[in-house]
Point group: C2
Chain length 147, copies 2
DNA sequence: TCCCTCCGTTTACAGTTGTAACTCTACATG
DNA sequence: CATGTAGAGTTACAACTGTAAACGGAGGGA
């Protein structure tokens, strides 16, 4: 059946990401606050935002708790889980042989702090200890190779 | 600004990625070959694959050239462009402050070759020369901070 | 010449996403 | 008590996705 394990996080659409980020940042809040914060960034109608909230609840990404007569929203998965899950989902689509190239591009274009860089370097050094000299392309059934 | 920028590549759906990867790998091929290769990985009907191909052409990701009486398909964007574009789109949804963390997770989970690692390290070293000590969260309009 | 088969085109249909109006209900207020 | 109102729920609707059957024309073989 459903619930419990989300064996690879529900898809989060772009609009949903925006809402989730607010929830993660604030921890918990009422739809009214959510709507106000959201409208400070996007001119979406109240209705639109409420629809998105309900969909997020249905997907199990948000949960509500009745307070007075309104609902307090909280996230059911952490921002880290969501970020890592989505990033991994994306990388799953890429040719195994070219993931490194894509990471390189990201590293060059994403803003990173000195601390981030240190951690990344440490991880790479660690990874180098067991990394292979090559990774095979997995774009075709098995036959022809990737260049 | 930059140059020749393609204002953010058409969205590529998961099914479409699978087809595109075959096209990128083979360079150019007829729908029949594409269908056969695809069916060796997924049990999609001919029809389904043909529909996807037409949609990819409509989106401008594939282009056709009439040969005899069938079409030869080729990609209009390179695999690298697509990979980088999609990866950047994903990262656009993430909190600026947490992109480093996500990259760290990817680096730890993605299979990388020694060469990939060396390049990544070189890029990081370069980046460290100008990296800031912190990056601000951009999840809320401006107000409240991220944790 | 006739039909079968291959390939491309049309149509289909449910589910998801973006976007939003409308409605219902319980309160607060006059 | 009569209402306006905030917050929740219902309905809507077009575009996009996943998945595929059905249709139509052209070439190859009988």
């Amino acid at each position: 059946m459903s619930e419990a394990v989300q064996n690879s996080i529900e898809e989060i659409t772009p609009s949903e990401w925006e809402l989730m980020r607010i929830v993660w940042t604030k921890g918990q809040l009422y739809s009214r606050e959510l709507i106000d914060l959201m409208q400070a960034k996007r001119s979406w109608s109240d209705s639109t935002i409420k629809t998105l909230l309900r969909r997020l609840v249905k997907k199990g990404l948000l949960q509500t708790e009745k307070q007075d007569r309104r609902f307090l929203y909280t996230a059911t998965i952490s921002e880290t889980e969501a970020m890592n899950g989505s990033a991994e989902q994306l990388f799953d689509h890429l040719c195994a042989m070219k993931k490194g190239e894509t990471l390189l591009n990201l590293i060059q274009h994403v803003e990173l702090t000195q601390t981030d860089i240190q951690k990344l370097q440490a991880a790479l050094t660690e990874k180098a200890k067991t990394a292979p000299t090559e990774v095979a392309c997995d774009c075709l059934p098995n036959s022809a190779k990737c260049d």
